[in-house]
């Protein structure tokens, strides 16, 4: 287990930002930390990063108290910013050195990462000379210039144009392939769906949804299938309702009936099935529903 959070409580005065929150992050996965604004995501990350101290509960990072794991964790905060008057390369080297990397090693790694994000030509320029997109890229690589095992990305896609979103997405996937554990907090549900293996949804500091993303989607899926075909026979067994939607048919099943039975019936009746899938609900809808429903 890379991250273990047990009954974490964090209060600001009378406000309880995080309320008995527990979850785990496994090695090598991309873990989504989701929730509406002010749900306590950033506070949770700050406690794990040893920026804040918990009021109650226990947090272990790589099996250690957060303070002792600092060097092995990377962090891209939601609030972005770098030393504007510092040179690009010097910025990366300094931030890596703060994480305990030797100067020479930091330099070499920083140069390699700058090349990867097409900023090598800007290494000697000041940060303030960079465009917004370039600064975002620089900030992104700054979070893992020290080669951490775990990486926390708080809203990494915020304010990016589609080109840079794609770029960052591919970088995240590359890091995942290298075996890094990634904790991703984002409001862009399509990207979360594309990237995450497991998710935790928090609201008012409490756990609302937690677990395998595919499993959660199944749980929230309606008992329905989506079929694309030239026509549908009028009386399919086990179907309660048929709706035509975007050039396909949306079939709601009778309670207890399985999608396989429908597929079998379609083939038996010689329907030319072009596409068949178990209907799913976008994560965004699950998010809204779960937040409205409250605690799991």
């Amino acid at each position: 287990m890379v991250i273990e959070v047990r009954d974490l409580v964090k209060r600001y005065g009378d406000v309880t930002a995080v309320d008995r929150l527990s979850f785990e992050v496994e090695r090598g996965e991309v873990f989504g930390l989701l929730g509406p604004n002010g749900a306590g995501k950033t506070t949770t990350i700050r406690v794990i990063m040893d920026i804040l101290r918990p009021d109650e509960g226990e947090v272990r990072v790589l099996g250690l108290p957060p303070r002792e794991a600092k060097h092995r964790v990377g962090y891209l905060p939601e609030e972005r910013g770098l030393y504007r008057n510092l040179k690009v390369l010097d910025t990366l080297v300094y931030l890596a050195e703060l994480k305990g990397v030797k100067r020479a090693v930091a330099r070499e790694r920083a140069m390699r990462l700058l090349e990867e994000v097409d900023l090598a030509d800007w290494a000697g320029r000041k940060v303030r000379d960079l465009s917004r997109g370039m600064q975002q890229r620089l900030q992104f690589i700054a979070s893992f210039v020290h080669d951490p095992e775990v990486l926390f990305l708080d809203e990494p896609f915020q304010g990016l144009d589609p080109l840079n979103v794609d770029r960052i997405k591919r970088l995240i996937l590359a890091l995942h392939e290298q075996g890094k554990t990634i904790v991703l907090s984002s409001h862009q549900m399509d990207l979360v769906e594309a990237l995450c293996d497991r998710i935790l949804l928090v609201n008012h500091g409490k756990r609302v949804l937690y677990g395998d993303l595919a499993e959660i989607k199944r749980r929230y899926a309606p008992n329905a299938v989506r079929v694309r075909a030239p026509f549908l026979p009028p009386d399919l067994p086990g179907v309660a309702e048929v709706r035509s939607e975007d050039g396909s048919f949306y079939l709601t099943l009778i309670e207890g009936r399985q999608p396989n039975e429908i597929l079998r019936a379609l083939i038996a009746q010689d329907v030319e099935v072009e596409a068949f899938e178990v209907a799913s609900v976008p994560l965004e809808q699950i998010f809204i529903a779960a937040v409205k429903e409250g605690v799991e």
Partner: protein
């Protein structure tokens, strides 16, 4: 609480290297050598003119350069001694002398009556103002003329010379300081140490100002989030204080070095300063410098971190600069008596002790008890400042948006609340 000194060092080096390149720092550092150089050049170029100006000022208060007439009814002053023949013209009668003044051959005529020895009366004939009588009375040339002629042949030349110029002052300060001849010693004795103290205090505040500015920038740009996820606030603060302390020392070093280099020719200046400012004073000044910097920097870092913008931080930290400036406002009092009660009291108060002691030390023999107490007070208050400043710094780092109220800060310090909203 164990510090990771490697990280402290990384922060210190970073702070030093980024700030040493600041334009403001370079200008501040270069200003002393530049001013010194300009003073030397101007001095060299204008030296002849300066001498002329000096001479003309002197001659205004003397009769030098003017021809003086003399009518001697007493017989004490004629014939005129050879060394005065160029300056004094003898006239046989009052009428002849008046005619010469009228014709501008001489500017004034001294008429010495027969009863001069008994009365000391001398009549001054002039077309000018009544001021000339005063000039005659104070003129060293005329004074020497009278003494020389009255005593010629009656006393030996050495005694005559002493009567003309009876006092050659040499200053001897009490309290073990070496004597330095001439009135300039007194001036150096006051001003060199005084300006040294002023400069030291200035570097303390430029460095702490940079610290404040750095923290405010890190907060405003939010880079602080990444930094505190890597180092503990106390390590960050320690690194900043050490790095910027070294920066201040660099500035002082450049200043002292340039003074030493520039005064290469006029080594006398340095010698004067060195004899006046005893090694003990230098050593103690260094101690107060370091202690003062630690105290102010830590407090300013802590209080400054509570501000959410540079402006706000400066306002908050300005409180400490004001305390440090109090001794300067009392300069007049200190020059009169460096050991006055108020000065001693302020030496026992941590926020004024460093500047007060740096100012008092060169001016007088400060009682040992004052030195011991002030250093002990500072040593005791620095850990307290570290706790207080460090705590505020930690809280302040993550507060954006709105500055906390005094009540909130107090609640946080007492530990009844953890970090305030973010």
């Amino acid at each position: 609480m164990k510090l990771d000194w490697r990280k402290v060092w990384v922060v210190a080096r970073h702070e030093y290297l980024t700030n040493v390149r600041r334009t403001g720092f370079i200008i501040m550092t270069a200003i002393v050598p530049t001013l010194g150089l300009i003073a030397l050049l101007v001095g060299a170029l204008l030296a002849p003119q300066a001498r002329q100006i000096g001479e003309s000022i002197a001659s205004f208060f003397d009769t030098g350069g003017k021809r003086i007439g003399l009518v001697d009814h007493s017989g004490e002053f004629t014939p005129v001694l050879p060394e005065y023949e160029d300056t004094f013209t003898v006239f046989a009668s009052d009428e002849e002398a008046e005619a010469a003044v009228d014709a501008d051959e001489v500017e004034i005529v001294l008429v010495v009556p027969e009863d001069y020895l008994e009365t000391g009366r001398v009549i001054v004939l002039t077309k000018g103002s009544g001021f000339d009588a005063a000039v005659v009375e104070d003129s060293p040339t005329i004074h020497a003329f009278f003494v020389d002629h009255l005593l010629d042949g009656k006393v030996d030349p050495e005694l005559r010379a002493r009567l003309i110029d009876p006092i050659e002052p040499e200053l001897r300060m009490l309290g073990g300081k070496e004597g330095v001849s001439g009135g300039w010693g007194v001036v150096f004795g006051f001003f060199i140490p005084y300006f040294l103290a002023v400069f030291l205090v200035m570097t303390i505040f430029t460095s702490s100002g940079y610290l404040l500015q750095g923290v405010a920038e890190e907060k405003e740009s939010r880079v602080i989030e990444i930094v505190v996820s890597s180092v503990r606030p106390i390590e960050l603060m320690a690194g900043k204080v050490i790095g910027l302390g070294a920066l201040g020392l660099t500035q002082v070093g450049v200043w002292l070095g340039s003074v030493w280099l520039l005064s290469g020719g006029a080594a006398a200046l340095l010698a004067v300063a060195a004899t006046l400012v005893a090694p003990r004073v230098f050593l103690l000044a260094a101690v107060y410098y370091v202690l003062g910097f630690l105290l102010y920097a830590v407090l300013m870092a802590g209080v400054g971190a509570l501000g959410t913008t540079m402006r706000e931080s400066q306002q908050l930290a300005g409180i400490f600069s004001m305390f440090a400036m109090i001794p300067y406002m009392l300069s007049g009092l200190l020059f009169a008596n460096p050991n006055v009660g108020l000065a001693r009291a302020l030496s026992y108060f941590p926020l004024t002790a460093p500047t007060m002691m740096m100012m008092r030390l060169p001016l007088a023999d400060v009682p040992t008890i004052d030195i011991v107490v002030s250093i002990l007070v500072l040593l005791a208050s620095i850990p307290a400042a570290l706790w207080f400043g460090g705590r505020l710094f930690e809280i302040g780092l993550l507060i954006y948006g709105k500055r906390p109220t005094m009540r909130e800060v107090w609640a946080i310090l007492r530990g009844s609340r953890t970090v305030a909203r973010s």
